[in-house]
Symmetry: C2
């Protein structure tokens, strides 16, 4: 089966783990058989299950980089930003990150957290990743020095920011192909942080479910656009150059931008298909540039129509987003679809997430250009914005943040 998992593997211990967990409760009251439906029965008989379960697939937690960046994006992503409590000091940060690392390592491998109150909900990791990011306040409390770009983004004219979706000292990105797995992991990890920090904001997003589309399909946002075509490809030198930092304690880490962008689907609907394609500079059907046939064709910004106008309009998103060769980012966004209020049909948008080694050098110039002129601005409103430094991964026995905190 050719699934480009970027590090995912099928948990070999799935059945055993389940059998142990499920049998445990019964054994505790003296009953004889381990139970767990046909899974345990099959395992006992030494039979192979009929097909691999998505729920059993895991992404390694330990490594040079944290998981959840180069990982093929999972279907569900939860972004929780926390503020450190006043009394939390540097030693507390070490304690907190040790506990969080330990529980994240367990949960991502399909094992219950250390004091897991619902261990049965931990048995299906479904490619769970937990990625930690540090805001300016975290680095300051750690008595460290952050990269220059670790501060709020400059104010953009299109922004209508709501403080309830901005900033934060510590970010948890919790992502998996199963929504129950995400909910359970979030609860366990937030219990770990309870003595040190309080939730500032949280945002839930989704992409296509695992298995809806063939792997490698670029995601579509709720405007129906393919979103992320020009992304560097994980596993290539290009990706490594765009994403991974080589600066000080952030070596092997990256910079993360999280922006909440409301999309006005109700007015977007009034635009015809041609207008939409002009505003983006790509065909809606397959995401090909207006000068090409296939999604990944290079846009030809010089091409003109018979009467001399550019085929890809000056105001189009694809043209405005393109800049100097170093102005590139890796997007890993999620859709959101909140309950509409009042007469609105929808309250939807994009949790825009991008990773780049240097936010100021790579992200900000692109955003400045889009801020000045991008037809898509007509239907999109940034309402949240935050920047985090994502530290490198750690080896077994270590903890995420150790390069800053030790």
């Amino acid at each position: 089966m050719a699934r480009p998992d970027h590090g995912a593997r099928t948990a070999r211990s799935g059945s055993t783990r389940r059998q142990f967990l499920l049998g445990g409760a019964v054994a505790g009251v003296g009953a004889a058989a381990a139970v767990g439906g046909d899974t345990a029965l099959r395992a006992a008989a030494g039979e192979t299950p009929p097909e691999p379960l998505n729920g059993d697939r895991t992404v390694p937690f330990h490594g040079t980089h944290q998981a959840g960046v180069a990982t093929d994006a999972q279907a569900h992503g939860l972004f929780v930003a926390l503020d450190l409590l006043d009394g939390t000091d540097r030693a507390d940060l070490v304690r907190m990150m040790r506990i969080l690392t330990d529980d994240a390592a367990r949960l991502t491998q399909g094992e219950p957290a250390l004091a897991d109150s619902e261990p049965e909900l931990a048995v299906a990791p479904a490619r769970l990743t937990v990625t930690f990011g540090f805001g300016p306040g975290f680095v300051e409390r750690a008595q460290g020095r952050g990269p220059d770009w670790l501060r709020p983004l400059p104010a953009f004219g299109i922004d209508r920011l709501d403080p309830q979706f901005c900033a934060g000292d510590l970010l948890l990105q919790i992502a998996a192909d199963d929504p129950l797995t995400v909910a359970h992991a979030a609860r366990m990890l937030l219990k770990d942080t309870r003595s040190f920090a309080a939730v500032r904001w949280s945002q839930q997003g989704f992409r296509r479910a695992h298995g809806t589309e063939r792997p490698g399909t670029t995601m579509r946002n709720l405007f129906g656009q393919v979103d992320g075509t020009s992304n560097p490809v994980p596993g290539t030198a290009d990706f490594d150059r765009v994403v991974w930092s080589d600066a000080g304690w952030l070596f092997g880490g990256t910079g993360m931008v999280v922006r909440r962008i409301g999309m006005d689907l109700d007015t977007w609907d009034r635009l015809d298909r041609g207008g939409r394609e002009q505003s983006v500079g790509r065909y809606l059907g397959n995401g090909a540039p207006l000068t090409g046939r296939e999604e990944h064709d290079e846009p030809d910004f010089e091409a003109t129509t018979a009467i001399g106008f550019p085929v890809i309009p000056e105001f189009s998103h694809v043209r405005r987003a393109r800049g100097e060769p170093h102005e590139r980012i890796f997007r890993r966004s999620y859709n959101y679809d909140d309950r509409p209020v009042g007469a609105a049909i929808s309250r939807s948008g994009l949790i825009f997430v991008s990773f780049q080694a240097d936010v100021d050098r790579q992200f900000v110039p692109v955003q400045r250009r889009l801020d000045r002129l991008d037809l898509l601005n007509e239907w999109t409103i940034p309402v949240g914005s935050a920047v985090f430094a994502v530290p490198p991964g750690c080896a077994e026995g270590g903890f995420v943040g150790e390069t800053l905190l030790t």
Copy 2:
């Protein structure tokens, strides 16, 4: 592949449909090739795709019963209740239900709605079902006569109802294995209702993702409990007796209860495992009754401990829920996990959904018993409640609600 789909099939026209849709946009501007990644290429070469995509699977729309009741529950469920606008009359109801039926029939088969603004989002039905329910206000406006039970449930002592999650004239249950499919279908259907009704409330729920667990596994709620063990099994005479009505225009339809039940996970956490199992009357590990070994073992309510106490406590949920043989319901619930506010770790619960032919005769006595005494009441708070009559399905060319409206 043995998947008990209860009526699902793999869309045979998947590739063709995609090819048409994706090729259409490009053809419209004069480009030559139909495109759509490897799907279209494979289809063009006459090759079979390497494995069936979950996204391509469909549940038939037309039939004696509406889909979405006996259908094996999908991973994502959206429940939207609407209030009819003042001017909406009986003729408008016919118009609205015709349009809704028509678009639901298309969308569930992976085809765009009639005026679909984002047709590319419609190509992956992922077992989408759309189920319509009528509240008392709808039946009144239709100048019809509803069953006696079609009214708000009696007030229960445990209820702390919030009007924003109660009642409604028209319910849309939109469920699929893909969250983007649900979001898109909801938007298209709510555009259809815009001239006739306004959103009163909506609730988004989830279960395990498709492929996380083997088919037939009973869902777990966020307490970690298996939830729905004693459900009648779709396709059996037992199920038909419990669920389908034979009364008047509701013949082939059913009664639907939707209750939003907040679950206080933060205090539930303080209860130890033994205490939790006593409160439910089942083992958490595999859902077996405290007198049994397997989930589906019949509870033995007579069994006593060595010192004479009942093994399944008097106050336990499983004992209190059990009543006369006719007091049975079919549960098809979804979890929810909203953004926590303030210092709370979670704001989670259950969108309790049950189907039964006669709400007064089957559901109400059970709920009355649970209201009087059920240890689970300590950690659960009903905050929403609504009752709907789910009309029968329709044949091609007909519309849902025709037995009431024509």
